[in-house]
Structures are given as structure tokens and as C-alpha cells.
Symmetry: C7
Subunit: 94 residues, 7 copies
């Protein structure tokens, strides 16, 4: 992966909603705010706090994650679409 | 449970309002802002403060909690509906 | 009391405005923002600051307090109505 | 005084504007935002900062103060009207 | 001076705009936001930061200062008009 | 380069979108918020946190970066157009 | 210079846009937000952070700087027009 996201940003490859994942996780059709499933392909070094501490990201490359559908910025690398989000837009590792 | 919520997020399974719980707790019908009852099924590691301190969640898996009805994001895992909220949306352990 | 409020939240039992309390304290009829009198029935462990310090609540169970009338969330426990507020919504111990 | 204000709150007894105070201080009739004169009858322990430090109030019981006219919450104790304000609403000790 | 301003507040006596001050400083007639010239007659002890540090004011009694025209609160002491502003409303010592 | 940006600002030379970069990175045509590609030509010393710590920029001169299209301020130096952005407007190094 | 700006304020003398400066720097005619060129004639001691640290300004008297055109407050000293801005309104030293 050639993209190195800055700060607490994470590059995500969106995953097609499957009928049934290996882990048996479905995403709701009618949720108030439908989260999206994706795979982490790159993660930044983490945000730096006011105290000068770097807070390392909780996610790592390869993690499958749920994130807010309307978060982040689209980008295309080598013909594939990715999304750059802040880690705070990621709800959970699944 | 296959979901690991990030930061101070908590995964909650909503509980049906019962006529009378074992603990005798009712939720009001006509409250200004009606809280919901639920069970914690997963909790994140906690938010990281500007000082670089991780604040562990006060709730733990299995706790019955009251939370704001319109908080969080719906998600479905193994055919069951859950809610991912921030711990600050949880009012109390009951 | 079966409710354990989180963070800096406090559970309050509203007190009927009496003609004259033992302490002789009246609440105004026509105030800009009329405070309510109540009794603390449960208090959280306190908020955690960015420095990772837990700020213990100033109020304790049994304290009679004044609080903003429109603060907090109603809840019913064992058939009795309570209010869950943040300690910052409490004006004074009386 | 039976009221113990919380945090950085202060209980003030409003003073009638006199023609001439002993200190010769007048309040303007036509000011943009007319401050009010009053006497401190109770003061809280002070606000707690994010660093966990308690900042003691600068005012003490008996001080005559100027404060914003539309600040705070009215309350009646033993038949007398008081005002509960935050210390930050107090402009000066006079 | 009988007024002791709280925190980072400063009491200012407005100076009449002169044709030419001893220091040769004019205030513009048509500026976007016209600053006012005045003399500091009292200064508070300074604001207390979240870390519990008191930040002493940079201005002292007697300083001539420029400040935002619409800042602060008018007050009259011994028949003279003053203005109470926060030090952050003061642009410069002249 | 004669410009020394202040704080966490970065001077960027916009790059023409190429059909195929050496790294094979394309920018999407129809993205919600289309990021721009550019080259860092100058970087500030970094922002200073409330704790007095200088947070050095992650980018350095020569880095190719993605940044928000509508960020920053245009400036012309020696007849060439540049953009001055805050480092937080830069999404990733590519 | 008789003006001592407070905190992180800086006094700037606007420079006429020249056809070609000695450093060959032009300012764009049609930029989204056109920066202005000027010379620093006075700088404050710097802002004080919540931790009680004084952050010294990066600019010094004599520096030529780019700043936001609509920033700050106009003032006239000895018949010359100046601008008082916060250092954060200054984009770069040129």
C-alpha cells in the first residue's frame, strides 16, 4: 500500500455487504445511521495530544471494521477505491 | 461476541420493557426523554485523554444499563440487533 | 437504591414544595428559572478529567439540593419517580 | 446561611441601589449592560480544573460585588430573595 | 480606586481622543473596528488556567491601552465612568 | 524556497492529475470531496500545544501529499502558484 | 515604535504590492482569500497556555509576512496606519 495516512487517519477498503459473513455479522437494512463494513489497509501513526503524547491507533492493517457510511474522503489507488477516515469515525473491529 | 468497540464505545442489547423487573425497576411512559434499558455485551478499552491516560469504562459486560433512547448506531450481529453507543450516553447501571 | 449513576451523574428524588421547611427555605414562585428542591438518593463516582483525575461529587446520599427544573432524565424505580442529573445541574446543598 | 453552593457558585443578596454609597460608588442608569450591586452571603469551594486542582473563589462572605444583572438563578431562603451565580459572573469586588 | 476586578478583568478609564497625543498616536476615524484609548485604573489578579496556574495580567495601573470599543461593562464610581473589560479585549499598551 | 510557513502550516505545489502516476495512484473523478495531489515545498516548525510542546510536522519537503481541494490560501512566489495549508488539511503522504 | 501589543498580538505595517519584490514574490490577483504582505513592527510576548507556558512568537520585528487580508484591527500611530493581528493570522514569513 503506497498511502501513508497522517495523524489518526485510516485508509479503508469498503467490503461488499455479504449475505452471511464467516463471522455471521449482518448490517441492518433500515438502521437510523447505517454503518459500513470495511478492511483497514493503512493506519497513521496516531493523533498527538496537547500533552505531546502520540495516541497509537487501536486498529491495525487487516482489521475488519464498522464505520459511519458518510465519513471520510474517497481516493483511488491503483484503480481501487478507498476511503480515508479518522479513527474516531470507526465504531468497532469485527 | 465478535464485536470489539473502539475507544469509549459500548455494545448494548436492548431489553424489552417488562411489567416488573426482578429488581422492580420501571421505565416511565411519559418522561421528557425516555431512557431505554439494555444489557452490555461488549465494551471498548476506554477513551484516551489529552494527557495520554486511558479512562477505563465504568460498565462491564453483563451490566444492565439505562441509556438515551436516540443514542448510537444500530448494528446486527448473527441476526440479533445491537446498539453501539459511547459510554457517556449511558446514564446508570441498574 | 438499585441505580448506580455513571460518571458525575446524581439520582434525585424530587421533594414537594412545602409551605415552610424545617430550615425555613422557600422556593420563589416567579423566578426567571425556578430551581427545584430534591433529595440525593444515589451519586456516581465522579467525572474523570483529561488529566485522568476522578473529581468526586460534592453531594452525598441524603443531601437536600436545589437543581434546575428542566435538567436531566426521568426514571421510575420500584414505582417511585426519580431524576438523573449531572452534578453540574445542582446549584446548592440546602 | 443554610445554603452551600456547589463548585464555583456564589449566593448573593442584591443591594438596593443607593443615592450614594459609603464608598461613593454609583451604578450607571443607561449602561449597555447594567451591573448589579450585591453582598456575598455564601460561596462554594471553587471549580475543579481538568488537572484536578480546586480553584478557590476570590470572593468571600461579606464582600460587596458587581455582577451581571441577568445572571444566575433566584432562590428564596427564610423569606429573603437571593441569587445563585457562578463566580465568573461577578465582575469586581467594590 | 475602590474596585478590585476579579480574574483577568481590568478597569479602564476611557481617554478622550485628542488631536495629537504626547506620543503622537492617533486612532483611525474609519477603521473596520475602531479601538478605543484608555488608562488602566485597576487590574485583577489574573485568570487561573486549567493547570491551576495564575496568569498575571500584562497591564498595570497607569498603562495607556487600546481596547475594542464595544467590549466590557460600564460602571460609575464616584461619579466617573469606567469600563470593566477582560484583558483579552485589550490590544496593546501604548 | 523563500517562504517559511508559521506553526503547523505547509506550502504545497499542486500537481497536475496524471493519467497514471509512477506509483499508480489515481484520484477519483466523482468523489464526495475530491482530494488534490501536491508536493510539499516548505513546512513550518509545527504547532505548539497547550503544554508548550512543539508537535513537529509529519510531512517533509519533497513529500507528495493528498489534501482537501478547498483548503488553505493561494499565494504566488517567483511566478509559481502555491497553497498554504495547515498540516491537518493533509490527508496522507503518497 | 510606541505600541506594545499584548499576548500573541503583532503590529504590522502593510506593504504596497510591488510588481516584483527583491525576493521575486508576487501575491495572486484572484486568489480565493488573498493574503496581504506586510512588515512586523512590534510583537507581543506571546500567548500563555493553560499549562502556564508562554509561547514566544515565531515572528520578530523586521520580518516580512503574509497575513489574511481581513484580519485584525486598524490603528494609526504618528500618522501611519498599522494593523494589530494575532500571530495565528500570519501565514508565513517571506
Amino acid at each position: 500500500m503506497k498511502i501513508k495516512p497522517l495523524s489518526d487517519r485510516v485508509v479503508i477498503e469498503a467490503l461488499e455487504a455479504e449475505d452471511k459473513t464467516s463471522g455471521g455479522i449482518y448490517l441492518p437494512e433500515t438502521a437510523k445511521e447505517k454503518p459500513q463494513m470495511g478492511k483497514v489497509v493503512a493506519a497513521g501513526a496516531g493523533r498527538v495530544t496537547d500533552a505531546g503524547e502520540t495516541v497509537k491507533p487501536e486498529v491495525k492493517v487487516g482489521d475488519k471494521v464498522l464505520y459511519g457510511k458518510y465519513s471520510g474522503t474517497d481516493v483511488t489507488v491503483d484503480g481501487k477505491d478507498y476511503l480515508i477516515v479518522r479513527e474516531s469515525d470507526i465504531l468497532a473491529i469485527i
